[in-house]
C-alpha cells in the first residue's frame, strides 16, 4: 500500500484531532508533576503542523519540513524543538518522494526517535517522551506489525509511572515524580498509534 503526501497531510490532521481531544487529560497529567500545559502545547503545535502541512505542495519531505516549522513556531516550549527536530529527521527518512510504501513509516518512527535523542539528549529510563518513542522505534526497526509497535509505545508510556524523572522540569521533584506517568510519553504513545493506523492496510 502506498502512502502519499495526501495521506501524510491526513496523518497530521489525525495528530491534531487526537491532541485536541486529549488536551485536558494531558494537562491534568502534567499538573501532577509539571506545569499543566503539555496538552495545550501539543494541541497548538499539531494544529499548526497540520495547517502548514495542508498548505504545502511538494514531496513527503517538504510536507514534514513545513509541519516541523509550523509546530516549532507555534509552541516553543520543550515539545517544540523536540518535535520539530523529530519531524525534520522524519522528512529526511521519507525523502523527496511523492509517496512511499506505507511500511516505510517504520523508518519514520525510528527517525523521529533519533531526532528527539539528538535535540533532547535524554536517555531511556529518564521519564520523558523518549520512553515511548524508543520502544516504538525498536519495534519498528525489528519490522514488527503496526499493533505491536503501538503496544510498545503504550507500554513504554505506562512504564514511566515507575520512573523517577532525572531530566526536564519534573526532575526537580525527584522521588515525588513516582506514580505519575510522564505526560510527554503519553502524548507520544498517542502519536505512535496514529502513525500505526496509517501503516495498517485499509
Amino acid at each position: 500500500m502506498e502512502f502519499s503526501t495526501g495521506d501524510l497531510k491526513a496523518l497530521f490532521g489525525a495528530f491534531s484531532q487526537r491532541m485536541a481531544a486529549e488536551r485536558d487529560r494531558l494537562c491534568a497529567l502534567d499538573g501532577a508533576i509539571g506545569d499543566a500545559d503539555h496538552g495545550i502545547a501539543m494541541e497548538q503545535g499539531m494544529k499548526a503542523a497540520a495547517d502548514a502541512a495542508r498548505a504545502t505542495n511538494g514531496t513527503l519531505q517538504d510536507v514534514f519540513n513545513a509541519a516541523a516549522k509550523g509546530f516549532l513556531n507555534a509552541v516553543g516550549a520543550s515539545s517544540g524543538p523536540l518535535y520539530a527536530t523529530a519531524l525534520l529527521r522524519a522528512g529526511k527518512a521519507a525523502g523527496p518522494r511523492g509517496s512511499m510504501p506505507s511500511g516505510e513509516l517504520r523508518a519514520v518512527i525510528a527517525a523521529m526517535r533519533d531526532g528527539i535523542v539528538q535535540r533532547g539528549k535524554a536517555e531511556p529510563g529518564q521519564k520523558t517522551m523518549l520512553d515511548a518513542w524508543a520502544p516504538a522505534a525498536d519495534a519498528a526497526v525489528d519490522g514488527r506489525n503496526a499493533d505491536a509497535i503501538a503496544a510498545a509505545a503504550r507500554q513504554g508510556a505506562e512504564a514511566t509511572r515507575d520512573m523517577v524523572a532525572t531530566v526536564g522540569r519534573a526532575a526537580r521533584l525527584g522521588e515525588r515524580s513516582l506514580g505519575h506517568p510522564d505526560p510527554g510519553a503519553v502524548s507520544a504513545s498517542m502519536l505512535v498509534e496514529e502513525i500505526c493506523n496509517a501503516i495498517k492496510p485499509a
Binding site: 494537562c27 506545569d35 516553543g76 515539545s79
Partner: protein, 335 residues
C-alpha cells in the same frame, strides 16, 4: 469542577491581546519590529557598541520578562506562550533588533525548553555573524541541592540578576565583562517561595494542581511545579523563618555584609501580606548582622493568579551594589 473566573476574551489569544494592551500603554518605552509580534524592544536602550541584553521566557510571569525591558536593564525580550518558552524565532528577532554590534547576551531561567529554543536561536544568530552567549538564572534554592546549582531553576531572583547584567551592559562593558557580572550576580542570588493556592491557565481555566484549603506548598516553582514539601499553612513569621533559615545557611554572609531583598507576590497575595513577611525578614537580617541596602516589595515575578510569595536575597559586594544602584527606566520598573 467549576471554571476559574478570568477577565479574558479567548484563552488562546490571551498572550497576544495582553501584548496589544502593553504596547498601547507603554509606547514611550517599548516597540515591536515589523513581522515580529513576540519580540519586544526597548526604545532607548540599544545603541551602537553596546552589548544587547536579551531576556525572555514564557508569559504569565508579568512584569517578568517584558516589564524589565528599558534603558539600563534589558534591551529586548522574547515572549512565549503561557508558561512555555518562546520558539527560536522571537529570540532571533529580539536579538537582531537590539544588536549594537558588540554581541548578544541571552539571559533566562534554567528550564529545559528555554535552553533548547534559545540555543537554536544562538545558532541562527551565529549564521548571521552575531555572537550570542547565554547566562542561565538558577536562583531557586528549593529546586536542587547546593552541589547541583546548575540544575536549579530561575525564579524571582531574575529581577536582581537581570538588573546587574543590564547595568553592566549600560555602562558599555564588553561582552566578556557583562557575562562575568551576570554569572557573579546569579551566584550570589538566592530565592525560595511558598504557594498557598494553585494558578490556572487561561486556556483551561482549571487549577493547575490541587492544593487543599489549610495547606501550603513550600518551594513551589513559578509555574506551579510541586515544591519540596507540603504541609499545613503556617503564620507569616514561621514561613519567613523557614525560608530565611534555608537562604542564610546557603549564603553564608559574614556580619556587616550588605544585601538586596525582594519580597515577591506570586500574583494573588496582596501587599499587606508581603510587608508582614518583610517585617520578619528585616528582623532576621538584622539579627544576622546584615545590612539591607535595598528592598523591593510587590508583584515582580508572578505565576498568573497563584497565591503565595517568594523571598529573594542578593548578597551584595561593591560591584553588585553599583549595578543595583545604576538607574534604569523600564515600562514596569524604574530605579
Amino acid at each position: 469542577m467549576s471554571l476559574t473566573q478570568k477577565l479574558i476574551n479567548d484563552g488562546n489569544a490571551a498572550v497576544d491581546e495582553m501584548l496589544v494592551g502593553i504596547m498601547a500603554a507603554h509606547p514611550e518605552h517599548l516597540w515591536r519590529p515589523d513581522n515580529a509580534p513576540r519580540a519586544v524592544v526597548a526604545r532607548h536602550g540599544p545603541r551602537t557598541g553596546k552589548v544587547a541584553l536579551v531576556i525572555g521566557g514564557g508569559s504569565g510571569h508579568e512584569p517578568t520578562f517584558l516589564g524589565y525591558v528599558g534603558r539600563g536593564l534589558a534591551d529586548a525580550a522574547a515572549i512565549g506562550n503561557v508558561f512555555a518558552s518562546p520558539p527560536p524565532q522571537p529570540a532571533v528577532d529580539a536579538a537582531m533588533a537590539a544588536s549594537g554590534g558588540a554581541g548578544v547576551l541571552f539571559m533566562y531561567g534554567n528550564y529545559a525548553g528555554d535552553v533548547m529554543n534559545f540555543d537554536m536561536a544562538a545558532e541562527l544568530l551565529e549564521m548571521e555573524g552575531i555572537e550570542a552567549r547565554t547566562v542561565l538564572t538558577t536562583d531557586d534554592i528549593a529546586s536542587a541541592p547546593r552541589d547541583q546549582r546548575q540544575k536549579r531553576r530561575g525564579v524571582a531572583g531574575n529581577v536582581f540578576i537581570f538588573k546587574a547584567a543590564g547595568a553592566a551592559s549600560d555602562m558599555m562593558m564588553p561582552l566578556d565583562e557583562v557575562e562575568r557580572v551576570a554569572r557573579h550576580a546569579n551566584d550570589r542570588t538566592f530565592t525560595m517561595g511558598v504557594a498557598l493556592s494553585s494558578c490556572s491557565l487561561p486556556q483551561t481555566r482549571r487549577p493547575s494542581f490541587d492544593l487543599p484549603i489549610g495547606e501550603m506548598e513550600v518551594g513551589m516553582g513559578i509555574h506551579g511545579e510541586p515544591g519540596v514539601r507540603r504541609g499545613p499553612l503556617r503564620s507569616a513569621n514561621d514561613v519567613a523563618d523557614e525560608i530565611m533559615d534555608a537562604i542564610l545557611a546557603e549564603m553564608k554572609a559574614p556580619a556587616g555584609d550588605r544585601v538586596a531583598v525582594l519580597i515577591n507576590s506570586l500574583g494573588a497575595t496582596p501587599l499587606m501580606e508581603l510587608y508582614i513577611l518583610n517585617a520578619r525578614i528585616a528582623e532576621r537580617l538584622k539579627a544576622a548582622g546584615l545590612v539591607v541596602h535595598k528592598t523591593l516589595v510587590g508583584p515582580y515575578c508572578t505565576s498568573l493568579d497563584m497565591a503565595g510569595a517568594s523571598i529573594t536575597i542578593m548578597h551584595l559586594d561593591d560591584e553588585l551594589q553599583r549595578m543595583i544602584d545604576h538607574p534604569c527606566d523600564c515600562a514596569m520598573f524604574r530605579s
